[in-house]
């Protein structure tokens, strides 16, 4: 049996659609359930639903063979897992944003973010010494209320930034969801995993060609 860790929320829906297109028969009421663990015995699959940031942890420890995780999480967590496939879903990007015409404070440059590792290595590479302030959500609040001059966050449509009067300054990296695999599962269950990769990549190539 394959155990797959899925992030709750938007990515989950898109990933389900992708799996269905790849020919996996998943029950229709799937997404509405509040269960955290859902078995699909007909396909020999078990899904576990986790916080996006935790998917990589489940997979690294091998309690999930596979997982679907955003590249942002992979960059932030740097776990020892195989990043096998770009699923091309949940496209967005990591960016530095702030109030228009503002600049990093010379005396106390502060950056608020949900991604402290990404933010600190990005600013280190720029040669900037900044203080990273980790937040768990509503990052856009930080510049508005004067906690930080800059934020590092994911931007998809840019609407949240706009509605809060913020602008994007630099793009750090593109983000899509990836299929990740535990290194042991990759060897012990290689037949099933290779099959899934093949079926999924067929769907992805198809959609890329159409778009």
């Amino acid at each position: 049996m394959l155990t797959i860790a899925m992030p709750k929320g938007r990515i989950f829906e898109e990933a389900l659609e992708l799996l269905r297109k790849a020919g996996y028969a998943l029950p229709p009421e799937f997404a509405e359930s509040r269960k955290l663990m859902i078995d699909v015995p007909e396909e020999g699959m078990r899904f576990i639903l986790a916080k996006p940031m935790d998917v990589v942890t489940y997979v690294e420890h091998g309690v999930a063979d596979l997982g679907i995780a955003g590249k942002d999480v992979l960059l932030e967590e740097e776990r020892d897992v195989y990043e096998l496939l770009d699923l091309h879903i949940s496209k967005c990007h990591l960016a530095v944003a702030g109030l228009p015409n503002s600049r990093l404070n010379d005396i106390a440059p502060r950056v608020a973010t949900k991604y402290p590792n990404i933010a600190s290595s990005y600013f280190r590479e720029q040669g900037e010494q900044v203080e990273i302030i980790p937040l768990n959500g509503s990052i856009e609040l930080a510049p508005l209320i004067g906690l930080a001059d800059r934020i590092v966050d994911i931007v998809s449509t840019g609407r949240t930034l706009k509605e809060n009067g913020l602008v994007e300054f630099e793009k750090i990296s593109d983000v899509t969801s990836r299929l990740i695999v535990n290194p042991v599962s990759y060897r012990m269950k290689d037949d099933k995993i290779d099959e899934m990769v093949e079926r999924l990549s067929a769907v992805i190539t198809n959609e890329e060609d159409e778009s």
């Binding site: 420890h61 990043e83 012990m188």
Partner: protein, 392 residues
């Protein structure tokens, strides 16, 4: 840092309680017996080594070393692996006439942990080093012995993935032309980032044929049929030699009768620069991390001024035990509870039982506070109390 509780230990350091101790002892013994039967000789080396010598020669990244200073100001390391100390020892003392040397160890090694502080920072490794034999049969022997030793512990389902870093290097160099570019691509494999690998390959100014060759590498996993596909991708002598070595290895593993346990995996890059030829990792059901790994490291002994090929494996005992799961090490300890009048009789009875190979506790009744709780720990219990004969 807040004040330490008196029972606290440094991060990642663990006590081994009696039950785990017994499990470790049984598993260790199963492995070391097998290793000794293959003629490997066990050695011990110091826990502390110089950072400049063993520390920097080790395959373990610098930031994971425990470093400290001795009284003269030299930087020392707690040994992060056993391969580098054995290379030091072999180069300076044991490896003399150029003939193969077979050494083995079971020892605790130390690696500082960056993330999730509770992960073990000290753990036991069991392994072998075969020094001075550059033939493929030495590679095969080390893999076969690793499988045999694991089987002796009772491990059921496990797989060994075998690759060849020389093949990866030859393919990259042939297509990309220089080390620098090869290194970029090698890092993607090392970091297990296949998406990055594919994107990078597609971004390179290469012919579509060459791009396909590089992308094809990711599919080269499976049984020995992989080798013929691998052979088609390379044209240089180094690349062809690497494939031929793997064919010879596969043949040897078949003769040893273990080819079923082994899978070829041309994408395997366990380290950025340490290994020089055939390399492998071993995985078991139920544990998310490799149990151990190994491979050929023909350049390590040179760092200790002695050129010699070498190969070996090491297994992490803690992960192996996790994979074994069954834990039937229940062993009986008997107890004789006596009173002062019958001390001599108790000593004699204990001696007899111990001579029979039994484990016997000799306990004065006056030393026990709660007889009910105490008597639950032992089976059977013989009471030698009072002055009249035996009572049960």
């Amino acid at each position: 840092m807040s004040k330490l509780f008196m029972f606290e230990k440094p991060l990642g350091m663990r006590d081994t309680l009696p039950f785990l101790y017994k499990v470790k002892k049984r598993v260790r013994q199963a492995m070391t017996n097998e290793i000794e039967q293959w003629g490997y000789e066990f050695i011990e080396t110091p826990t502390l080594e110089y950072y400049e010598t063993v520390g920097s020669a080790s395959a373990i990244a610098d930031h994971r070393l425990f470093k400290l200073l001795d009284q003269q100001g030299h930087t020392l390391v707690l040994r992060p692996d056993m391969t580098a100390p054995i290379a030091r020892l072999a180069a300076s003392r044991l490896y003399q006439n150029g003939n193969p040397l077979r050494l083995a160890y079971h020892a605790n090694v130390f690696r500082a942990q960056q993330r999730e502080g509770g992960r073990p920072a000290e753990f036991e490794q069991i392994g072998v080093e075969c020094i001075g034999d550059g033939t493929v049969t030495a590679d095969a022997e080390v893999i076969r012995l690793m499988i045999a030793a694991l089987e002796q512990t009772g491990l059921q389902r496990f797989t060994v993935a075998v690759g060849h870093i020389g093949y990866v290097n030859a393919l990259f160099l042939e297509i990309l032309g220089n080390e620098e570019r090869a290194n970029v691509l090698r890092r993607f494999l090392y970091e297990k980032n296949y998406v990055g690998y594919r994107n990078h390959v597609k971004s390179l100014p290469l012919s579509s044929i060459d791009q396909q060759r590089l992308l094809k590498l990711l599919d080269l996993r499976g049984d020995d049929t992989v080798l013929s596909s691998a052979r088609e991708l390379v044209h240089t002598e180094e690349g062809i030699n690497a494939v031929e070595e793997l064919s010879a290895l596969w043949h040897a593993l078949r003769l040893f009768g273990v080819a079923d346990t082994v899978k070829m995996d041309m994408t395997l890059v366990s380290h950025m620069s340490y290994y020089t030829g055939i390399l492998f990792e071993v995985y078991a059901d139920g544990v998310g991390f490799p149990l151990g790994n190994g491979g050929r490291y023909d350049e390590l002994l040179e760092k200790f001024s002695c050129k010699a090929p070498a190969t070996g494996f090491s297994i992490r005992l803690d992960r192996l035990i996790e994979a074994l799961q069954e834990m039937d090490v229940e062993e009986n300890i008997e107890c004789i509870i006596f009173s002062q009048e019958r001390f001599a009789e108790a000593i004699q009875l204990a001696n007899e039982k111990r001579r029979e190979g039994k484990k016997v506790v000799l306990q004065h009744i006056a030393g026990i506070r709660d007889i009910d709780a105490y008597s639950k720990r032992y089976e059977p219990i013989t009471y030698l109390l009072g002055s009249n004969g035996r009572e049960e």
